[in-house]
């Protein structure tokens, strides 16, 4: 498929899902109540889902590109785990959700500093960073589990519910933050796109062609950690979206090289689809969006691995 065709197709899918999401709980009439529902419940939820997916898509594909590793995504190398641990600490200590967002930002930020600090040697060492990041992620999840086990039932339940990832509590300020983050990330991706597309022949060659791979990596890593922490602090983790968006986008485009913008579109579509699924009544209740991306993510990843094996 050509690039414009993929872009158009992804936009169409995304808009279709967005429209479906606005109507899934029943059609709305012209009345004042229906307008309030649309304006204060359905619209912010739909927008937050889409923007969140785009954020994760960019965060994931940026990391995958600069670390040259399809498994190197923020929720694998500790940024998501750090943000989640921050969320757990804040809910367990304060008993409420008031400080969840700053706690997630601090947690994600600290884990990024830790992972970068432990692996920095004259610049970012991609493989080391991934390995240390995976270890950090495991430790951070263990920490979250400890907190969940020690916390009183109410807080533990609240934490566990938050950490499954859902857009049910969406509100306009969250949408605004997500939009701002998307705009910032988009601008950075645009400004660094040229350099990012030329890291794939190794650092020696990139440097001898006048690029600064270490600086590009640092920018991408910091941005990715910030996006992921914000996302976790707002909606809870949405597993696998960051991991899948980049490879799906590249698969659709059929070329190598980074596909940050298309990954954003794929991420948005995935998150919207997950939230659509989250409206399905199952056994008299509904399941959170994060659970659906968890359930679909593993098999989807397997499918991508097998398909790319066949191609090469």
């Amino acid at each position: 498929m050509t690039r414009p065709a993929v872009t158009f197709g992804l936009c169409a899918v995304m808009l279709g899902l967005a429209a479906a999401l606005l109507r899934v709980d029943g059609p709305l009439g012209p009345g004042a109540t229906d307008r309030l529902i649309l304006l204060h419940i359905r619209l912010p939820r739909m927008l937050l889902a889409g923007l969140t997916g785009a954020m994760l898509g960019m965060a994931g594909s940026l990391l995958q590109t600069v670390l040259r590793n399809p498994l190197a995504t923020p929720d694998v190398i500790g940024f998501g785990g750090g943000a989640a641990a921050g969320v757990a600490v804040s809910i367990v200590t304060t008993g409420g959700l008031a400080l969840v967002l700053p706690a997630a930002l601090v947690g994600g930020g600290l884990s990024a500093v830790l992972v970068l600090g432990l692996t920095w040697r004259n610049g970012v060492q991609p493989l080391q960073l991934v390995l240390v990041g995976v270890a950090a992620n495991l430790m951070l999840f263990a920490l979250t589990d400890v907190l969940l086990s020690l916390a009183p039932g109410l807080q533990a339940g609240e934490t566990a519910r938050f950490l499954t990832g859902s857009f049910a509590a969406a509100h306009w300020p969250a949408v605004a933050w997500a939009a701002l983050a998307c705009a910032l990330a988009g601008a950075v991706a645009l400004a660094t796109g040229f350099g990012l597309s030329r890291l794939d022949m190794g650092d020696d060659l990139a440097r001898s062609q006048g690029l600064n791979p270490s600086r590009l990596r640092l920018v991408a890593i910091v941005l990715s950690a910030a996006l992921t922490s914000l996302e976790v602090g707002q909606s809870g983790p949405l597993p696998f979206v960051a991991l899948l968006a980049g490879p799906i986008a590249r698969h659709l485009l059929g070329v190598g090289g980074p596909a940050i913008f298309h990954a954003a579109l794929v991420g948005a579509a995935l998150a919207l689809a997950a939230d659509l699924a989250a409206h399905l009544p199952i056994g008299g209740t509904t399941l959170p969006a994060g659970l659906y991306t968890s359930l679909v993510g593993g098999p989807a990843m397997l499918a991508i691995i097998l398909m790319s094996k066949e191609r090469s």
């Binding site: 645009l190 400004a191 660094t192 796109g193 040229f194 350099g195 030329r198 794939d200 022949m201 190794g202 020696d204 060659l205 990139a206 440097r207 001898s208 062609q209 006048g210 690029l211 600064n212 059929g254 070329v255 190598g256 090289g257």
Partner: protein
């Protein structure tokens, strides 16, 4: 363009690699760096390319230390070909060669007609015209290496630094590649420095032989003068037989 190294010292993870290198590269000539494994010749080449920060001393390009030259500017004066560059997924010969234009391009500076001309010229010079649109993954070892050479040519730099450009090639392809390097040097006047393993090939395809041992220069001069039994004893700490074929030919080194 004059490339010179003075008082260069460099240690990697505490191990001294270069122990005071002074070297003037002859402009417009082909220089081969030879020496035993681990002698520091590749590190010396990487230092010349500005990829390795020395602990002491400096590399200078026309008198200016390379460490002070902005990276993009340096990349327009000096091209470096690593020993085994990664071949990007889905690349073609042409897209590989286009990578050489990187120091002239940017997010808001797309390829212009001048860039395309440089790419076409590099493809023609390396005889890759017929296979310019072939996928790089389907190339033979010799063709791939020629494509990488074309990439460094499209960078349009007066200096080319090649790190073991003949690795993984069989003998006929090694010779073919070194003839290409020689022709580029003759036709375009590039200053070329390359790391080579095979002394006999180095003698035949380089104007100057520089021998590196334990991070020091132990030989520096035309093959006929420096490739002698004594010279090689100093370089490799081994006894090798050298046949000097006389005035025009290059020396031939044989195992004893």
């Amino acid at each position: 363009m004059a490339l010179s190294v003075s008082g260069l010292r460099l240690a990697l993870s505490g191990r001294p690699i270069l122990n005071g290198i002074d070297l003037a590269i002859a402009p417009g000539q082909v220089t081969a760096l030879i020496g035993p494994n681990g002698s520091g010749k590749s590190t010396l080449l990487r230092s010349m390319a500005g990829l390795q920060r020395p602990d002491a001393g400096q590399v200078a390009l026309n008198g200016a230390p390379v460490a002070t030259i902005p990276p993009r500017e340096l990349a327009r004066a000096l091209a470096f070909l690593p020993q085994s560059p990664i071949q990007p997924e889905g690349s073609t010969v042409r897209s590989l060669v286009e990578r050489g234009r990187t120091p002239y391009l940017g997010t808001f500076r797309p390829m212009t007609a001048a860039d395309r001309r440089a790419v076409d010229r590099a493809i023609a010079q390396t005889g890759l015209g017929d296979i310019a649109d072939r996928r790089a993954a389907t190339l033979s070892g010799g063709q791939r290496q020629r494509a990488f050479i074309a990439m460094t040519l499209s960078q349009e730099t007066p200096v080319l630094l090649l790190d073991e450009p003949t690795t993984y090639l069989d003998l006929p392809h090694q010779i073919e590649l070194l003839r290409l390097v020689r022709r580029i040097n003759r036709e375009m006047g590039h200053t070329i420095v390359m790391v080579l393993h095979d002394i006999n090939l180095a003698c035949r395809h380089a104007d100057t032989i520089v021998g590196v041992r334990d991070g020091r220069i132990v030989l520096d001069g035309p093959a006929a003068q420096v490739i002698t039994q004594d010279g090689l004893r100093v370089l490799f700490a081994a006894d090798l037989r050298v046949i000097q074929p006389g005035a025009q030919g290059a020396p031939i080194v044989l195992p004893e």
